[in-house]
């Protein structure tokens, strides 16, 4: 994890130059049982009698190899010495697995999946710690966008929801330190409650193949793992300081880690982030500040045969929502859209006024593992999450201090899993889990509950097996069953209950009549199957082909089932449907990757066929005494998503490197034969990187980001009556904004302070030319431009 130590441990030896001896073998040596990297493994067997050692992460690099057959001997104090032979025809990358020779036990073969690998048949897109650190003052969504095919659904610039291959919200499962996040992800303006600074590594899986976590991730899975603690007697820490001109704020994040040889470890980490109003090139985006406070503690013992870990994290964020986006109906929307500037622009302030969100998320977790002789690794985990969300609105009669939304979501979760090895080549991961969730909507808001009170019970079973058929082939298959039962107490407006025909279809659900409202008690049950099958095939020098098919089913969430009424923050009426069934997705994902060499790439075409896809779209304009409101209704249809993501890196010379991404996606409604709303436009990112290791690891990069105009979209425009002119005016809510091009410049260098400490200084200028632009997937695009130039200074101190 620490570049400094890696540098010290890596022994580079120069070999005598001879013809055709320019190839490099890179890779890592890992423990075959749990995939943990083996540090200090000794690699010998070269003609010149050279010796190479693996670094802290188990990695090595052997330069100047000649073409031909190479015999390697790898030795490690805790392992059997093994001999490997491989053909050198070019640059190669390989992982060597060593078997522990167990002194206290007799040959117990216990093997699990690599800690890092979440799925064998789908490309694990990993975001490393140094990349995460560049976004220390940003959000999870900002970090994830660095992966091709991942975009974001924004509400302003601080509420950032990840979109993977066109899908978001409940279709993406986010796993943070082993806990599947339950943080009211149903809303388009509900961002994940995660402090990015707690993550040591983030993996993005574009597809639902990580069945150990979920069966409903039609869009994909994001797994954030904490930094690995070094089990040596050591204490180390890191402080990240970030300051930005746009928003005139910054963040500080600090962590301290304690590790012992005996396996005990502890970590404490905290983040404080504060920004005032952000600015577009031409004006202040009033009321867009953010104030976030997070703390995380964890500790435990990690032995070879057992381990216990307990952790607690607290996340609290207050986010201002652009004042000019709060509207009182369709007529106001006409004004807002017609104006090219936001209708409310105030001087800069750090104050966060209404409308705003105030979200608190607590996560507690206890996990235990035990390696059982002849059986495998047994893991048991309990976690508790408490998510409290307040939304404050512009209200009449001094009610602005009272939340308009006050939801408390509590989730208990118990998971038991067994990772076992059926034979030398086959591993099996089975488990069961249960979850109890309860949502309480506080009635004292004086606003009808947007999400009803409910209790939800989940029960799941899964089994995933993978088998190494040969050096080249690994196959994987998994199956999962999910059962859900919900016990809901929902008040319906009587007029809506009757208009929908619910009174005739579900008279038995009504438990009490309150005159203008009825109290109902729906108790839906969902039984869902998901499955995945696939393979990876390694060939040539450094090629891997992944192919995966997955079947995923997702039960509709509380918002899709029970929404009924005005959603103030969106100034529209949102209607769910309690008759909804689960979505069923069939996805095919293929990735061809070239891992090493001067030119590296991955190309990832995919096809996602979703039956009973739940989408929300405008259906009519409803007249109320408050004026006209657009009605957005959830409906189920059959959808079809197709596209590809392309990644490429090319080492132009020793100092210059090119990195590029291209993402293309199309989404259609198969029933209506129309494009789907809110599909990410085609976009490309191209970066030129210059590195100069001789001078403090200097790295400078120039990035160009081009986002095309979305040319396929459904027409949801509607007419509204303007009293002053007595005319009907069409409100254009459909047309996407034009294409835009942004340039970003960044540089960083590392300065050694003493033997243990170093300081990394990074300077980034985003939107270098202060370009005005609007993004199709920003829900506030009707009202204001996106962010202008932002100069960010990052200081990272490792000690």
């Amino acid at each position: 994890m620490k570049p400094l130590i890696i540098g010290m441990l890596c022994l580079y030896t120069t070999a005598g130059l001879s013809q055709n001896c320019k190839f490099t073998l890179t890779g890592s040596v890992v423990d075959s049982h749990d995939g943990d990297p083996l540090e200090g493994a000794v690699i010998t067997g070269f003609s010149e009698g050279q010796v190479f050692y693996t670094d802290l992460d188990g990695r090595f690099s052997i330069p100047n190899l000649c073409e031909g057959t190479l015999g390697l001997q790898i030795a490690h104090p805790e392992c059997k010495t093994q001999v490997f032979t491989l053909e050198i025809t070019g640059d190669r990358s390989r992982t060597f697995r060593l078997e522990h020779h167990l002194e206290s036990l007799n040959e117990v073969i216990i093997t699990g999946k690599s800690y890092q690998t979440q799925s064998e048949s789908i490309l694990n897109n990993e975001i490393q710690r140094d990349q995460i650190e560049r976004y220390t003052s940003g959000s999870l969504g900002d970090v994830l966008k660095t992966v091709s095919g991942v975009s974001s659904l924004n509400t302003g610039n601080t509420i950032v929801k990840p979109v993977i291959n066109g899908l978001h919200s409940s279709r993406i499962t986010i796993v943070n330190n082993g806990v599947v996040m339950q943080d009211q992800e149903w809303g388009a303006e509900h961002a994940p409650s995660i402090d990015v600074n707690t993550a040591g590594n983030i993996t993005v899986l574009k597809g639902a193949s990580a069945l150990q976590y979920t069966g409903s991730a039609i869009g994909g899975v994001v797994v954030a793992q904490p930094q690995r603690v070094v089990l040596k007697d050591s204490i180390y820490g890191q402080t990240l300081l970030s300051g930005a001109t746009n928003g005139r704020g910054g963040s500080i994040s600090s962590s301290l880690v304690l590790g012992t040889e005996k396996g005990w470890f502890a970590e404490i980490q905290g983040t404080l982030k504060r920004f005032g109003d952000f600015e577009a090139p031409d004006y202040v985006l009033s009321n867009t500040g953010v104030y976030e406070r997070d703390i995380m503690v964890r500790g435990g013992i990690n032995k070879l045969h057992y381990g216990v870990e307990a952790s607690y994290s607290y996340f609290r964020t207050e986010i201002g929502i652009l004042r000019a986006s709060h509207l009182g109906g369709a007529a106001d929307q006409v004004r807002a859209i017609e104006s090219d500037r936001p209708l409310i622009i105030e001087p800069f302030t750090y104050e966060i006024d209404v409308p705003r969100q105030d979200v608190t998320h607590h996560t507690g977790r206890i996990s235990y593992f035990q390696r059982l002789k002849d059986i495998g690794k047994l893991t048991v985990q309990y976690d508790l999450q408490i998510n409290e969300r307040f939304e404050f609105d512009v209200r009449r009669g001094g009610r602005s201090d009272r939340p308009a939304v006050d939801l408390l979501l509590t989730t208990h979760h118990l998971h038991a899993g067994l990772e076992t090895r059926l034979d030398d080549l086959t591993s099996l991961n089975v488990g069961l889990e249960g979850r109890y969730q309860t949502n309480e909507a506080d009635p004292s808001t004086g606003v009808r509950r947007l999400i009803p009170d409910y209790d939800q019970y989940d029960f799941a079973l899964f089994a995933i097996a993978d088998r190494r058929l040969s050096d080249q082939w690994v196959v994987e298959a998994g199956i999962r069953y999910d059962y859900r039962y919900m016990d809901v107490l929902k008040f319906y407006r009587k007029s809506f209950w009757e208009q929908r025909g619910y009174d005739e279809e579900f008279p038995e659900l009504v438990i009490e009549d309150f005159g203008n409202q009825v109290l109902t008690n729906p108790q839906p049950e969902f039984s869902n199957f998901s499955a995945t099958a696939g393979a990876n095939y390694s060939f040539g020098d450094s090629y891997v082909l992944f192919a995966n098919y997955s079947l995923a089913m997702r039960a509709p969430n509380a918002s899709e089932l029970y929404s009924e009424g005005l959603h103030h923050s969106a100034s529209r009426i949102e209607l769910g449907d309690l008759r909804f069934d689960s979505e069923i997705a069939n996805r095919i994902n293929i990735t061809l990757q070239k891992q090493s060499g001067r030119f590296r790439f991955s190309v990832n075409p995919f096809l996602n066929l979703i039956d009973d896809y739940i989408l929300i779209e405008p259906t009519e304009v409803q007249q109320t005494i408050r004026g006209n409101f657009q009605v957005w209704e959830y409906r189920q249809t059959n959808a079809f998503l197709v596209g590809f993501d392309l990644d490429a890196q090319f080492d132009i010379s020793e100092a210059f490197a090119y990195s590029g991404q291209f993402s293309f996606i199309k989404g259609y409604d198969r029933t209506l034969d129309l494009p789907l709303i809110n599909m990410p436009p085609v976009n490309t990112l191209n970066e030129l990187i210059w590195t100069h290791p001789q001078f403090h690891d200097l790295r400078i990069s120039l990035q160009s980001q081009y986002v095309f105009e979305q040319n396929e979209f459904p027409d949801n425009n509607f007419d509204v009556f303007i009293p002053e002119t007595g005319e009907n005016v069409e409100v254009d809510v459909s047309t996407p904004p034009p294409a835009y091009h942004l340039m970003h410049l960044s540089g960083d260098a590392t300065f050694r302070l003493n033997d243990q400490s170093n300081l990394n200084v990074g300077l980034t200028i985003n939107n270098l030319f202060d370009t005005s632009y609007r993004d199709y997937l920003n829900r506030l695009r009707y009202y204001a431009d996106d962010l202008g130039r932002n100069i960010i200074l990052n200081l990272k101190l490792n000690y």
Partner: protein
Amino acid sequence: MKTLKTLSLIFASILVVGLTSCSNDDDNTVEPVNEEEVITTLIVTMTSAGNPDITLTSDDPDGDGPNPPVITVSGPFVAGATYQGSVRVENRTEDPAENVTEEVEEEDDEHQFFFNATAGLQLTTTYGNFDGDGNPLGTQIETAAGTASAGSWTVTLRHVPKKPNDGTLADAGGETDIQVIFPVTIQ
């Protein structure tokens, strides 16, 4: 299915009872929420000496629900007459109905009514009351009916408009709290 449900329930009970003892408020009493801020009803009463009173009403008992408001105008304006009008807003989802006019008048600097007649309609409205800064409020109005004509007359209540403004909705900004379009005739 039944077994699974029982299994899930047992499992959840173990979780809740065994691992925590904080959720003991699991009683089945939930209260309905009556929307506090919703305005269901707008009544404009027009009086003019010697002429019949006119009442213009918009009533939307289900608020943001699917039923449209019921709009009634009791009779035509008399050409050439001047009317003293008062505007009243209520929330009838509460019992007894809440008089929202009081709230609007208390927060007079944050509210303003606007009155717009379509091009052909000879109806001019002037403000009869003002906020503390002398800017128009509009819960009291004076309306002059011109020559015989017909059209629509729109009453709009804006929350936090720009004050002072030039009298147009476009300039005032803010958020629409109410907007009712009355079909009106002058005879």
